[in-house]
Structure formats: structure tokens, C-alpha cells
């Protein structure tokens, strides 16, 4: 089994299959920890993890915070709207100040793509990307892959269909990276206006026809309509999107009988996914949330649970 060698987790572009498998294997043991009565192990005792969230987030922030706490690390959480950012401080200056307080890792979410890279270059602290702009959300993709492997075994040759706003989705980008590395065939489906140029070069099939996209799929992943990132009009109307792309139980019949239904959350019920599908027997949406903690524990352990370079 490979050893984890990266200092940071910024995206999954350079992460190898062996490294993803190591994360999955490690996460398996952490899932057991979260099922105990005493949900805590001392692996990161004495370490401090700062959570810098410059963009609203509940699920990911709570997930990282619980992950750090279950490893016995101390956490501190800073939200952009109450921070000195409102007084004009730059992100890097703020990070340097937090680093000066001997923090071991910073988990960063920012609405601008590339901020985690800037902090990784400008500080000496371990940086974990918790989502930057439209670029990458590596831990989400790792927890999605973990959930799929947990349910399906090997992903070699499996068909994974991602439906929705691909253009604005860092989740889609990181998932495409991780899934193709793991040997899956990825199909992306959505309105042409929400499909990034050159996406096919990432080694995926692109279609605007949902029936074709779902045909024979082993996994169907819906993505949220990101209204906050859509400054221009990408769609004639939400009603039209629903008519063309909503994952309904009728459409889901095109996929394999036991195909997994996934969604990174938060969901817009009745927009990208029908409520009965989201709550249906094929849905593993809440399991994704449970697995998220285990995967983030694995990532923090792999990055911090060893001698510092």
C-alpha cells in the first residue's frame, strides 16, 4: 500500500490511485471509531486545526470540525463575516497571523478559485482545501468515492453519471478527477450553458440528454443548482431545467436496477432531484454525510499524524 507523501490536500489532480485507496482504507477504520460509544482516538492529540470558512457552509465545516475533534485535535472556527477580513485584511495576512499562533493545519473554503494554493505557497502550515470557487472540493470527491467503493466494490468500468450545473461545480471537477483515476467511466449531463468548455478533455462523456446519460448507470449523482454563482442567466427558467434534467423516479429506471443515488448537498428538492428519489431506497445521500467524517478524519490523520517535514 502506498504511503501518503503530499504535504497539502489542494485538489485531486496529482493524487494517485494508490493514495486514494490508502484514504479509503484509512477511512474504513475511522468509520468504526465514529460508531463507538466513545467516539474519540488520541491520534492528533495536541494538534490544532483552524477552519477558515470564507463562504457559507454548514455540512462541510461541521464535518471537518467533528473529524478533527474525534482525532483529539483542537479546533477553531473562523467565519468570514465576523473576521478581520471585513476590516480590509488580505486572506494571506490573516492566514499568516493564524500560523503565528502555531496552528498545525488550516482547512480553507473560499469563493475564489486558487486561494488554498496561495496559502499553501505563502505559509508553512498544512492546507486542506474545503472547496475553492468552481475549482476543487477534494474531500467531497474522496467521500463520494469511498461511498461508491463501500457499496459497489471496485469502480473499474463502472458508469457514474453526474447531472446538473457542471460549470459551477467544484464537486464535479474533483469527482471526475478521482473517479477516472479509480477506473470509472464518467458521464456528465446538463444544459449546454452549464457545461464548461473543454470538459471532454477530462476524459468524460458529455451529453445534454438525460435519458442517454442515465442509461445503464451504476451511480447517479445530482448537483445543486448554484443560484449564488450564476450571475448571468444560464437558464430560461428553473421549470424548464426541471422538465429536462430533474432526476425523477421515472428517469431513474433507465439506470441499473440498484444504481446508487447521490447528492453532495444541500439539495433543492424538486429541482435537480425529485423528493421521492432523494428519500428512496437507492439513495445513499445521508450515508455520504456519515462517510464524510470518516474520510476527513483519514485526510487529517494522513496529513498530520506523522513527523512534520
Amino acid at each position: 500500500m502506498a504511503e501518503w507523501t503530499q504535504k497539502h490536500l489542494l485538489d485531486l489532480d496529482d493524487v494517485t490511485r494508490e493514495e486514494i485507496e490508502l484514504v479509503i482504507e484509512t477511512a474504513r477504520s475511522f468509520k468504526e471509531v465514529s460508531s463507538r460509544e466513545v467516539k474519540k482516538v488520541p491520534a492528533l492529540r495536541g494538534k490544532t486545526v483552524a477552519l477558515l470558512f470564507f463562504e457559507p457552509s454548514t455540512r462541510t465545516r461541521v464535518s471537518f470540525e467533528l473529524a478533527a475533534k474525534r482525532l483529539s485535535a483542537d479546533t477553531l472556527s473562523i467565519a468570514a463575516n465576523v473576521s478581520s477580513m471585513t476590516k480590509g485584511e488580505t486572506v494571506l495576512d490573516m492566514a499568516l497571523n493564524i500560523e503565528a499562533m502555531n496552528v498545525d493545519a488550516m482547512v480553507v473554503r473560499h469563493q475564489a478559485s486558487g486561494v488554498p494554493q496561495i496559502l499553501a505557497q505563502g505559509t508553512n502550515t498544512v492546507i486542506v482545501n474545503a472547496g475553492d470557487g468552481c475549482r476543487a472540493h477534494p474531500t467531497q470527491a474522496l467521500l463520494d468515492v469511498f461511498t461508491m467503493v463501500d457499496k459497489l466494490g471496485s469502480l473499474d468500468g463502472k458508469k457514474v453519471t453526474i447531472v446538473g450545473d457542471i460549470l459551477h461545480s467544484r464537486v464535479a471537477r474533483s469527482n471526475i478527477s478521482a473517479l477516472t483515476t479509480m477506473g470509472a467511466h464518467v458521464t456528465v449531463c446538463g444544459p449546454g450553458t452549464l457545461m464548461p468548455a473543454g470538459i471532454a478533455q477530462m476524459g468524460v462523456d458529455v451529453t445534454t440528454n438525460i435519458e442517454r446519460a442515465l442509461d445503464g448507470a451504476d451511480v447517479v449523482m445530482g448537483l445543486r443548482m448554484q443560484k449564488e454563482r450564476q450571475q448571468e442567466l444560464f437558464l430560461p427558467s428553473i421549470t424548464e431545467y426541471v422538465r429536462e434534467f430533474c432526476i425523477t423516479s421515472e428517469r431513474l429506471k433507465k439506470a441499473r436496477p440498484n444504481a446508487l443515488v447521490m447528492h453532495p448537498g444541500p439539495m433543492n428538492r424538486g429541482v435537480e432531484i425529485a423528493a421521492d428519489v432523494a428519500d428512496g431506497v437507492q439513495s445513499v445521500i445521508l450515508e455520504q454525510v456519515t462517510n464524510g467524517i470518516a474520510v476527513r478524519m483519514a485526510v487529517l490523520y494522513l496529513l498530520l499524524g506523522r513527523k512534520a517535514d
Binding site: 504511503e3 490508502l22 482516538v41 494522513l302
Partner: protein, 180 residues
């Protein structure tokens, strides 16, 4: 070339396991409330052998689990080669049970210290006992084994290599390797 000297062969390992099985039964006046927990990696297989041996003698089933102690190590931030964490699989409640921890070699005692912490997080056993195939001395902590297959005097620079059929694919044997 490192020099190897054989200190146990497969017959000796088998006899040691059988004897420890008898000792566990005798010490605990039967095996009511006794459960076995093997420490990864080789303790797991020794625990399974003890389970088979004890069940053969007592004609009753005893639970057997697997413990990974890596998250409880005291040297995680001192070593650069990070140990791979594997699953702990103990699917029974250890509270009020007599837990017999099983490992292959008892050396500094630090692995056992970590195992004790890990066990206490899982419940409150009425008693924890320790069974090892080999005790090679050089303790750094006040820990001793209750059941020992063989005591071997070693120098600190020597390595003790245990090979077990289940994981190493060769007949059981124990070697003493000169330091490098």
C-alpha cells in the same frame, strides 16, 4: 549479511500456544467471560489459534476480536514512516469481561500501553491479561505478560522475527537477527 539464529520452530510454537491455552483456562477457572483480542498484525493469528485451542479443550465458544493500536501510539509525531491504520474489529461488548490481549513479541511494552488505552475506550473490562509468544525483555514501561510462550534474552540491537503460516506463507518459525 545479517546473522539469523532460529529460536523456535513450528512444533515449539504449537506447543507454546497449547500450553498458553491451558494456562488461560486454569488462571480464569474456565473461560466464562473470557474473550481474546489479538493485536495487529501477528497477534490476530495467535489469538485465533488460542481460540481454537481453548474451544477444543472447553467445548464452548469464546469471542475473539482484532485491535489496531496505531491511533494510540505515543510516537506518531516522531516517526516519519506513517503506519497504516487498519480496522479494529471487536463486535462484542468487553465491559465486565476478562480480556486476554494477544501479541507475538513483548519488547518495550509501548504497544501494550497503546492497546490498554484503546481497550479502555471500547469499554470497561473486569480484567485485562496479556499473552505473548515471546518475551524478549528491555521494558520501558511497567508492563508484564501473564502468559509467555518463551522467554528469550536479547540485546537491544537484535531483532526478533516471527513468521506465521497464516500471514507469511511459511511454516511457523522465530528467528533472532543480529543488529544492523
Amino acid at each position: 549479511m545479517t546473522q539469523l539464529s532460529k529460536i523456535m520452530d513450528s512444533d515449539q510454537v504449537r506447543r507454546a500456544v497449547t500450553r498458553i491455552a491451558h494456562e488461560i483456562i486454569e488462571r480464569n477457572k474456565g473461560v466464562e467471560d473470557v474473550c481474546l483480542v489479538g493485536i495487529r498484525t501477528r497477534g490476530v493469528f495467535l489469538a485465533q489459534r488460542l481460540k481454537v485451542a481453548i474451544e477444543g479443550i472447553e467445548q464452548t465458544e469464546i469471542p475473539c476480536g482484532i485491535l489496531d493500536i496505531n491511533l494510540y501510539r505515543d510516537d506518531l509525531t516522531l516517526i516519519s514512516h506513517q503506519p497504516q491504520v487498519k480496522e479494529t474489529l471487536i463486535d462484542f461488548d468487553i465491559t465486565d469481561k476478562i480480556v486476554v490481549l494477544v501479541d507475538d513479541v513483548l519488547f518495550t511494552g509501548r504497544t501494550i500501553r497503546a492497546a490498554l488505552d484503546a481497550l479502555v475506550d471500547l469499554g470497561r473490562p473486569s480484567c485485562i491479561q496479556l499473552a505473548v509468544l515471546l518475551d524478549r525483555g528491555h521494558r520501558e514501561l511497567p508492563i508484564r505478560a501473564d502468559f509467555v510462550g518463551k522467554n528469550i534474552p536479547t540485546s537491544r540491537t537484535q531483532d526478533v522475527r516471527v513468521k506465521l503460516l497464516e500471514i507469511d506463507g511459511v511454516n511457523d518459525e522465530v528467528f533472532l537477527e543480529e543488529g544492523h
